[in-house]
């Protein structure tokens, strides 16, 4: 069934197919006439059956059969069960003929499902049919799909079906469908907490051994590896959503009276609101807090949630320290995207010190420059480090509940096995799996600080893979970048190496005292945002970024350099929309406008939808210049921002008209492409 070469048609074949086409056409016109006139006689159905037999892919023909079926059945009295049975049998026979013609016909399988779900027919026969089909083509996913349907209808136990997959895999383990069904069945068993399958460590060990037989026997066969990936995911997966990080961090002290609060979870969640999260300043519980998810494409759902807090200053002209406490009030109300509630209670507390000699946010007189000569190494003893320190030293408070010992044991044993496999077999997917296992090991190994024991090895594995398997270069590159960032953000010391302190403090009220400089690293993706929530100034220039997804979590970001990357469209810059503090932006020398087709565009809010939260009227910009309509994307990204300094030179999109548009859109703009505006 698989791996059969296609043969080109001979003249004889072509003649035959021309004849067949003529036959189908004539049947089709007869059928359509019947369909049009709602004729459901026996003769009409026979014509339809013939048509379906020669072309099982014709959906309209199947739909007609459904109409006919319901029509003919409704004309029967309840008592005439024999006749009803014969109508059903006839439907099943037509489907069987169609499947004989093409056993991968969607229409046929669907019709069968539809007829069977009407009841009145023997599912025993369906099982026999399935056994036949699954013997002929063991991986036919239509048959597997139908099998799940029948098993559900017949109430066949998941254990029994699991045994069936075992038998099929024993016959030939190169069977994606069987492995897949296995993962589906085990998930059911786990969900229903069936004895012997709950908790999951009971079956995981056996499953690891089972699939190991497959991947070790033939490492080039990918089906087992996919299952292994599922197992690994099951092992590592934390079953419930949890808070992993926040701004301001627990135990920190900040000095602004109005500031954003960001809650960062391990996975996208919904339900962060006044009922679920309480914000308490001193003894007052604030009731006028509105939380919103930081996500450009998921409504009501986000990994990071944002609100703004203003400390009410009752007594003026005196310094005071306020205690702020944010805690989960009703954590069950915070739910992951697949419906699991957060059951862990959490709480963060920090201090806000109000001192009135604090410099007001002023206008900077010069543009912000992010070149090497503007930075000095960070003085570890300087007081700008305090916040930074508290971030790392107290980060442990948000860590996951201590992971079970079985997880680390299981993963450690898998690592040993796959190291051995790689010692005698050169195997791409083996290397990839080892890299994933090592990362998983680091992720669950120690509950306190992020573990980076294996990062160097993982990076080496990805580098090797990039060379070994150029087809999937981009994937390995992305993974490499993420692992690399994990390493960079793992500790204060490693992060420090990438930080620069601004020499001149003239614009420090915009840039903050420090800049995280992740430039010239050939990163193709960014991540580890949960550890970067403190960043005000970020240099990502001279990398290979296509996307900045996730950057929206960095709510303090005021200064961002994305120059010399591969950002291909304004939609890829959509996360900027959420960065209301952003004042300085460099997107020069990217590929904006260089690609005519933007595959991300469907995610974009359009002029017809009204999801933008800023009140400028796009029509104002659009009138009189049709071409401006093309700037809709740029408008949706920048329209709500208050940017002071912008660099867009070196992009295909940055023509004169666009510049004019930007100047009009951003009234606060002072520097554009290095020139001061007047």
């Amino acid at each position: 069934m698989h791996g059969r070469p296609r043969k080109s048609a001979t003249p004889v074949d072509e003649n035959a197919s021309a004849l067949k086409a003529a036959k189908i056409r004539s049947l089709q016109s007869q059928f359509l006439l019947n369909h049009h006139n709602n004729i459901y006689t026996k003769e009409a159905l026979e014509i339809n059956a013939k048509l379906i037999e020669s072309n099982p892919e014709f959906m309209t023909a199947w739909n007609y059969r459904k109409l006919a079926f319901e029509h003919n059945l409704s004309n029967q009295s309840e008592a005439d069960s024999d006749h009803i049975k014969s109508i059903i049998d006839e439907e099943l026979r037509v489907v069987e003929n169609a499947l004989r013609k093409n056993f991968k016909s969607y229409g046929a399988w669907h019709h069968r499902k539809w007829v069977i779900s009407k009841g009145n027919s023997s599912t025993e026969r369906e099982l026999r049919l399935l056994n036949l089909f699954q013997k002929q083509d063991t991986r036919n996913f239509h048959a597997w799909n139908y099998r799940r349907f029948i098993a559900g209808l017949k109430n066949i136990s998941d254990e029994k079906e699991l045994q069936f997959t075992t038998d099929m895999i024993n016959d030939n383990f190169s069977n994606y469908s069987a492995w897949h069904n296995r993962s589906v069945l085990l998930s059911h068993l786990l969900e229903k907490k069936v004895v012997g399958y709950f908790p999951k460590e009971i079956f995981l060990k056996e499953e690891y051994e089972f699939v190991r037989n497959a991947v070790f026997t033939d490492p080039d066969d990918q089906s087992g590896w996919f299952y292994h990936l599922w197992l690994l995911d099951q092992t590592v997966k934390v079953d419930m959503p949890n808070l992993v990080s926040s701004w301001p961090p627990h135990g920190s002290e900040i000095t602004k009276t109005t500031f954003p609060i960001v809650l960062f979870f391990n996975e996208p969640v919904e339900g962060v609101n006044l009922q679920t999260v309480s914000v308490q300043v001193e003894d007052d519980i604030f009731k006028n807090i509105a939380w919103s998810p930081l996500s450009s494409n998921k409504f009501k759902c986000g990994q990071a949630w944002l609100t703004h807090l203003t400390i009410p200053l009752g007594e003026t002209h005196s310094s005071k320290i306020f205690q702020v406490k944010i805690s989960s009030e009703y954590s069950q109300g915070i739910i992951s995207s697949n419906g699991v509630p957060c059951s862990q209670h959490w709480s963060i507390a920090f201090r806000v010190s109000v001192c009135h000699d604090f410099q007001l946010e002023g206008q900077s007189l010069r543009g912000v420059l992010m070149t090497d000569e503007n930075f000095s190494t960070v003085d570890i003893n300087s007081n700008v480090m305090d916040l930074f320190k508290s971030y790392f030293e107290l980060a442990s408070d948000y860590e996951q509940p201590t992971s079970s010992k079985w997880k680390s044991e299981m993963i450690a044993s898998e690592i040993d096995q796959y190291r051995e496999l790689l010692s005698w077999a050169e195997c791409k997917i083996g290397k990839l799996t080892l890299a994933r296992l090592l990362m998983a090991n680091d992720a669950i190994g120690t509950p306190v600080a992020p573990n980076t024991t294996h990062v160097e090895e993982v990076l080496k594995l990805y580098s090797e893979l990039m060379e070994l398997d150029p087809t999937h270069y981009q994937y390995y590159k992305d993974e490499y970048s993420l692992v690399f960032l994990k390493q960079v953000t793992s500790s204060k010391e490693s992060l420090m190496k990438y930080c620069g302190q601004y020499k001149e403090s003239t614009s420090s009220n915009i840039t903050g005292p420090m800049c995280l400089r992740l430039n010239f690293l050939s990163l193709s993706q960014i991540g580890s945002f949960e550890r970067l929530l403190w960043v005000q100034s970020l240099d990502l220039s001279h990398n290979q970024l296509h996307s900045i997804e996730g950057l929206e979590a960095l709510q303090l970001l005021s200064c961002l350099n994305l120059s010399h990357n591969k950002v291909g469209s304004f939609m890829a810059l959509d996360p900027l929309r959420f960065l209301k503090s952003l004042r300085v932006l460099n997107i020069s020398y990217n590929e904006l406008g260089a690609h005519t087709v933007d595959t991300r565009r469907y995610l974009c809010s359009s002029p017809l939808s009204h999801t933008l939260d800023y009140d400028k009227k796009f029509e104002e910009f659009a009138t009189g210049d049709e071409k401006v309509l093309n700037f809709w994307e740029a408008y949706s990204v920048f329209g709500g921002l208050d940017i002071m300094q912008l660099d867009v030179v070196g992009n295909a999109a940055a023509d004169e008209r666009f510049i004019l548009f930007l100047v009009k859109l951003l009234p606060g703009l002072k520097w554009l492409d290095g020139e001061e505006l007047h």
């Binding site: 024993n170 030939n172 096995q417 051995e420 077999a425």
Partner: protein, 550 residues
């Protein structure tokens, strides 16, 4: 044997070909010649088909083995004017026959047995015999069943599953993960090589081809080069490639398997697995015994017009007096039948009668020399070796049973589902290639001691070697027949001699010899031409209706 009247006269009295003996090679030649349009007379002195390839009841088997004496009834020569007659005698093929019965119930149900004279023997789903059955359409007369499992004895006397395919390697519980990888890598290498060779033939070059140098080197060296551990090597050599002689013996090994042939044997095995959807493993066995195969070809021949007469001994071969050329045969009935060609089974030879000089006879009738010996054993038990397999193959590689075991011992267990024994009983066939009877018997006894426990009702034949206590209870030996068979290869002469059953597990070598003999007999005729109903063979293969039942 006196009443010559009871033999019916044969009409006509002249044929293109007379075949004496209904063993598999003779039956195939008779069927092939009939298919090619020759008139054929097929004779057998026995009351059953199959000669040395037959399956017999327990009683018949015993008497067949013991029927050693040459035909006592030497007829007086009533020479015609132009004919010389040379007496035909039976030469003994079997020696050192030992039959032991420990339980009367076995002998009592004698008639319920179909015991192979030439066991152990199986067919590989993709071997020549299956192809020939399909091509000749003789497959319609015989049905097969799968052999459930095969085991190989490791160095410690334990039987382990032979991981003979990708899925068997996957399922195996005893192999280490690294061994699984090594085995499957070798399977893939062989497959890749065969595909590459195929594509080279069609003009596409590929790097996967194993080098000529490696192909000519001993297979065992190639396996060493692949860094395969001894356990895996042993599985491949003895349990998949079915090699007889110890390949690690170096210079002293009698028959070194070349990589080229080793790869062919692996390929045969692999193409056998899964050739027929209803046969799970590589090996199949005919229901009612191997004796069904010669019968199937005889039926095929009969359909094509071959004349069959059983219980009809040939007493002499007739020659033209002046030329000394073959003329015909004289039957026990006294009737003389002439033909152009004569094919005889190898258990017949001629006496040099006083009137003829021995040289003349041997010029005309080369009896061939013994090319080797085989020790065979048939054992009957009431329980199976492994509870989950009613039929199985067991291989004892060289040196696995005792240090100087020079050749591999093969055992085939069959259950009543194959209709070879009464239900509840099991038949074991054992064979080993040997230089002499002593050595052969030693091997047989070693295998029997390892397989069975002796019958409790005090027999002298008790276990001499200490057996490792295994949790599995060994079957108790109830009946056994051990014998040594002489090996003759087929010979082309004025009278064609067919080969005796060989020591292989399948019929491939025998069929090669047989088709060669046929081609020499009839150089202008095709050995079973592709049948006129052209699609039959393909259709049969696809439908897997080789009578194989799962």
């Amino acid at each position: 044997m006196a009443e010559t009247e009871s033999y019916p006269p044969i009409d006509p009295t002249n044929f293109d070909l007379i075949v004496v003996g209904t063993g598999l090679p003779e039956s195939i030649i008779a069927a092939a010649a009939s298919t090619a349009g020759k008139s054929v007379l097929h004779l057998d002195l026995n009351p059953h088909y199959g000669s040395h390839y037959s399956s017999l009841t327990l009683q018949d088997l015993t008497s067949f083995l013991n029927a050693q004496s040459p035909n006592p009834n030497i007829n007086p020569h009533q020479s015609d004017t132009d004919t010389t007659a040379i007496d035909v005698i039976t030469r003994p093929l079997y020696s050192d026959i030992e039959i032991s019965s420990y339980d009367d119930s076995v002998v009592e149900s004698s008639r319920k047995f179909n015991l192979d004279l030439a066991g152990p023997r199986v067919l590989f789903c993709a071997d020549l015999a299956v192809d020939l059955l399909l091509k000749s359409t003789a497959n319609q007369y015989v049905e097969f069943k799968n052999i459930d499992a095969s085991y190989v004895c490791d160095g410690n006397g334990n039987l382990m599953n032979v991981p003979d395919s990708k899925s068997a390697v996957f399922k195996d519980k005893t192999l280490k993960y690294s061994e699984k990888n090594q085995l499957n890598s070798l399977f893939k290498l062989v497959q890749g090589h065969l595909e590459a060779v195929k594509s080279v033939e069609t003009g596409v070059d590929d790097e996967k081809v194993i080098s000529e140098e490696d192909l000519d080197s001993p297979f065992v060296m190639f396996l060493d080069k692949m860094k395969l551990p001894p356990k895996i090597k042993s599985i491949i050599l003895y349990a998949i490639a079915m090699v007889d002689y110890d390949q690690d013996a170096g210079e002293s090994c009698k028959d070194v398997l070349r990589t080229r042939d080793g790869i062919d044997r692996l390929a045969l095995y692999h193409s056998s697995v899964g050739r027929f959807p209803n046969a799970l493993g590589a090996l199949i066995y005919p229901i009612y015994g191997q004796g069904e195969l010669p019968q199937a070809f005889c039926r095929r021949a009969a359909v094509k017009g071959c004349l069959y007469v059983l219980r009809m001994p040939v007493i002499s071969v007739l020659l033209h007096k002046d030329s000394g050329n073959y003329k015909g045969v004289k039957l026990v009935s006294g009737q003389e039948i002439t033909s152009n060609k004569l094919v005889m089974d190898p258990s017949f030879t001629v006496t040099s009668s006083p009137s003829e000089s021995p040289q003349d006879v041997s010029k005309f009738f080369d009896a061939g020399t013994i090319s080797g010996k085989l020790a065979r054993g048939i054992c009957i038990t009431k329980s199976s070796l492994k509870p989950d397999a009613s039929s199985c193959l067991v291989i004892y590689p060289p040196r696995s049973l005792y240090p100087d075991q020079a050749t591999s011992i093969r055992v085939l267990q069959l259950g009543s589902s194959l209709a070879v024994c009464p239900s509840g009983m099991f038949v074991f066939y054992i064979s080993v290639v040997c230089d002499n009877a002593l050595e052969g018997k030693k091997s047989l006894h070693a295998a029997i001691d390892s397989l069975f426990s002796a019958h409790t009702s005090g027999t002298t034949d008790s276990c001499s070697t200490d057996q490792i206590d295994s949790t599995e209870v060994k079957p108790t030996l109830l009946w056994s027949a051990l014998y040594v068979q002489d090996l003759f290869e087929g010979l082309m002469g004025p009278v064609v001699m067919t080969p005796t059953p060989d020591g292989n597990l399948n019929y491939n070598d025998l069929l090669h010899t047989t088709s060669k003999l046929f081609q020499q007999l009839y150089p202008d005729d095709e050995f079973f031409p592709e049948t006129s109903n052209t699609d039959s063979s393909d259709k049969l293969e696809d439908d897997s209706e080789v009578g194989i039942e799962s």
